[in-house]
Symmetry: C2
Subunit: 132 residues, 2 copies
Amino acid sequence: MTETFSPAQTVEISGFSLDTLRYYEKIGLIEPVRRAAGGHRRYSEDDLGWLDMLRCLRGTGMPIAQMQNFAVLAREGDDTVEDRLALLEEHDAAVEAELARLLEQRSKVRAKIEYYRAYLAQQPAVCVPQGD
Amino acid sequence: MTETFSPAQTVEISGFSLDTLRYYEKIGLIEPVRRAAGGHRRYSEDDLGWLDMLRCLRGTGMPIAQMQNFAVLAREGDDTVEDRLALLEEHDAAVEAELARLLEQRSKVRAKIEYYRAYLAQQPAVCVPQGD
DNA sequence: CGATAACCCGGAGCACGCTCCAGGTCCAGC
DNA sequence: GCTGGACCTGGAGCGTGCTCCGGGTTATCG
């Protein structure tokens, strides 16, 4: 066990591009990845788990800077679990707010759509000759 | 009637910054705004209505480029209503998809939160002396 | 009439989050 | 052994969407 994954496999699994993976490592979002003899990266299962976490956070709009805070805490060990939990809960609230905002804005867009539809219904087929 | 609004009022009402208003005008998202004698802008009620539309679109994540397409159609007159409707419907579908994505990702974040909570529950109060 | 605030313009700058590039190294298959 | 593809590095570049700056003009208020 303790399988490892090539960069290409990791791209495939994580959904991050190769460049993004290296970028994340460079800025400390990922701990330095183990290397094979020749210097090529070998991502561990733990790395993939962490990448999955990052995907969740990015996918819900967490800024890089905040993910960095989270990464620092994660690296400090088990006694930061409470802090991390707090950070996630705060983020969850932010996501909730964003969802609410989106829903509200969507309803406005839909109102505009209805408005256009009504316009078209009331002013039908401009090009159709009337009454022959 | 046919009230007009100063830039400051328009900022207040539209929620866009002064710079953003001028930027939008520059890139053609807004038609050239009428000016008072001295060259200061006077936004019309129509302008405000259009700004409200832009806010809906931006607020639901429509890229500037697409809003520009929309603006061009709007400027071409009433016989583009169908095209505009199609554009809005397409956008509405995109918003829908984005909402679905967000909801799914949120559930993953919440799963992580639960995981942390479980960890804390199982490993309670590290600092409390055990059994005196 | 003077001061202060609001506004004008063109253009530069910025924050974010990647993405691409050049010039090399490593490794798997024939 | 050689070739082609995957991978390495540091650093530059880019797309988006504003935001800020400097220097000047116009409006408002006491």
